[in-house]
Symmetry: C2
Subunit: 445 residues, 2 copies
């Protein structure tokens, strides 16, 4: 009933989107090109975006906390990116050859994240994690990948396992058991259990791969001792350690989670922010591992590992957009991170207070500029891993996000965490808090 009321209000103000979505169902399975973008009754269709705002085809303007899958730390179409791309456009979008901008971007990453002794650019995060695992298997001559239960590393065949609740079933059809058998999943923030699982596959384990903060699984922050415990175990047992910093890189700090938490991975992956709004994935890490990708190694050598690359790798549009973004972040890092982290803290503490005062049992997770509200219930009293998120009251979360979108022009992709950009302001967080209060008071959630 409450769902219906918000749903009807949403439909009323998104009639053009509704028509486009119906048209889309004749083109795309389920009307969509990325599963996560689908929500009920249907997603709005965007017509434009600028700064912190995204506009739909019904002239609704939303304050955007989804921000291009959390990629747009400077907001939509930031000036430095628009400027450089406007120029680059006329000079070619795809050389298919090496170019100087790729060196500048790589050197800047290396400066800010010294663990990147060597780098390889690809075009998507899903490619980057797939290649990182391939390198780890090549280096270790072992096969098992330990990932986190619920950890998300893209749709690649290698890592599309143990992603969705209940986690132990295959992630849909078309994936083969012979490959899946080499993926083990570890419960986040539970070191004892994780080490036991690792110990059980110790003879054949190639790598431990994890996000420092579980992003897609529900904005779950780490117990730092969990990360360090895994790291210690990995180093002690010659297991390669890979941090997937596709979301946290240049988000948690200018040096990512690695810098913020003092981590020491063998490999790590980047994406999202580092592309400045253009397609990118990056594998970075220790020279002794990354050099296995050197194409001058003879093809029949036991040390040669083939990774992409791809047609669009290092394309000058992505390189220039990424360079403009990371340069801007580097030059203004103090202002930027103190601002967005401060807004994140304000959102988390403000929301915590509002839910508490409304006697609604909620846990606002997050760190820095990332945050997500979880509605608790009898089964879940605190969020520390992906199972907790799955068992929490997700229906209320969806309803809350849909109400924010419909009644308050505030866009979170329903169920997913928000990312604050440099374009967001104190006033935006105040609005979010007031909107939340109104929603709770009206009994909509």
């Amino acid at each position: 009933m409450r769902q219906d009321k918000i749903g009807i209000a949403y439909e009323n103000k998104t009639q053009n989107s509704k028509a486009l979505f119906t048209r889309g169902t004749r083109l795309f399975a389920g009307g969509i090109n990325h599963n996560v973008r689908l929500f009920k009754p249907y997603p709005f269709f965007s017509e434009g975006a600028n700064g912190k705002f995204i506009f739909d085809v019904d002239s609704n303007r939303y304050t955007d906390y989804w921000m291009g899958h959390w990629s747009l730390i400077l907001g939509h179409s930031p000036k430095p990116v628009v400027k450089t791309l406007s120029e680059q456009l006329h000079k070619g979008t795809l050389y298919g050859t090496p170019n100087g901008a790729s060196l500048e971007l790589a050197e800047l990453i290396q400066k800010l994240m010294p663990s990147a002794e060597l780098l390889r650019f690809s075009s998507t995060g899903s490619e980057a994690t797939m290649y990182a695992v391939r390198l780890a298997r090549a280096k270790s001559r072992k096969r098992v990948i330990a990932k986190i239960t619920g950890g998300w590393h893209g749709f690649n065949t290698t890592l599309m396992h143990s992603v969705n609740y209940p986690f132990h079933s295959p992630e849909g059809t078309g994936l083969i058991a012979e490959e899946e058998q080499f993926v083990e999943s570890l419960p986040f923030n539970n070191l004892d259990s994780s080490l036991k699982i690792l110990q059980s596959v110790i003879d054949d384990i190639a790598c431990i791969l994890l996000e420092p903060i579980l992003a897609g699984a529900g904005c779950i922050t780490p117990d730092i001792n969990y990360l360090l415990g895994l790291q210690e175990f990995a180093h002690k047992n010659d297991i390669l350690l890979i941090f997937d910093e596709i979301v946290t890189g240049f988000r948690l700090s200018i040096g990512g989670a690695i810098q913020k938490y003092g981590l020491n991975p063998d490999l790590f992956t980047l994406g999202k922010i580092v592309g400045g709004g253009m397609p990118i994935g990056v594998v970075c890490g220790k020279k002794e591992i990354m050099t296995l990708a050197d194409p001058t190694i003879p093809a029949d050598s036991e040390f040669r590992c083939n990774i992409g690359g791809g047609t669009y790798s290092c394309n000058p549009m992505t390189m220039m957009a990424g360079l403009a973004t990371i340069k801007y972040l580097d030059e203004n890092k103090n202002e930027i991170y103190s601002k967005i982290d401060g807004l994140g803290a304000k959102a988390r503490s403000g929301l915590t207070k509002i839910f508490s005062e409304a006697n609604i049992d909620a846990h606002i997770t997050g760190e820095g500029s990332l945050f997500l509200t979880h509605f608790l219930n009898d089964k879940v009293k605190i969020i520390k891993n992906a199972t907790d998120v799955s068992l929490s009251d997700q229906k209320s979360l969806y309803r809350y996000h849909l109400a924010l979108m419909t009644l308050n022009q505030i866009f979170f992709l329903p169920g997913k965490m928000g990312a604050i950009s440099y374009e967001h302001s104190e006033a935006d967080i105040d609005q979010l808090l007031m909107a939340t209060q109104r929603i709770l008071e009206s009994g909509l959630v």
Copy 2:
């Protein structure tokens, strides 16, 4: 010795590239981000590109036949693409939400390639082929993939097998035998042998996946009866047939190889041209297969197949660039394809004549706007599959391409086929022919 002379001339005119390449070796394994882009002594670094030209950092201007991995059928930075991207830039590069342009592009593809009953956009060709295979396995409930010996479908783990001579060894380390066991490779243009191999795995075969023209393997054109024979066998035995049209789509005709050869696949993939110079991959095909990707199917259903997607899927820059390109191709298809096909025919016949008159045994392969010169030898008298290419005189081909680049400012990625764009002219082909004649006369090749 002859190699050295051209190599020295190349180095003399690409000193800035040499310095950048050296700098790159401290950042990237082998100095490169895509294996195929590496050639000796080192690849030049691009500073810009326009129309049919690409410019390096030493102010050399080359007539480009590599054309962004054969993607840029309208040349570098064509006006319709520059115009639409200049506008889109200010309206956001990455919405992370559905948008109308994706519907328009999908509808246009559907109109031109009716086999695309449903579509799914991703960001790279490597993703598209990986998802096509996953869908085929999901639909068929079988595991074996038959691909062509030497066939190239990207760096994804599933299809990175049987790519490089001698084809039967693993393609480097880090790939696992448990997955590789499900890939069978078929000798291109040899129907009897191919059918025998297919028959030997008939109980577990999910799909046959092939490029209509082997592109990366050496611009190898099909015996049409080979394609139709595989198709007949597939249809008769309920094996899914997938054509990888990433190179040939919108290249061989406005309806791709499917239209030109009258093919009838279950699924097909697109990339390159369809992105208008921006990152893209597309899986297209029959509704009954594509619907398995519908995210509204319950997660625990045996019919649910999870494919990407990805952060950048359907991003408005790619959608607008692709739409501008395909619209332009559609509106001008008669002029465009008759022009580029004519230039291709002129290049092939002209080169054939020149090599013949010089008494050099060569086979100029290709079709439409694609062509490649193969230097024959005692082992290889005609090019009909990837083994022939591998055993042909590739050193002479590299030397020829390096001489074209160095002495005549004509750029083929050494060893790889050329793709003619709408920007190329009769005069360019004349230049290519004259340059070839001079190179042969001077005994450099």
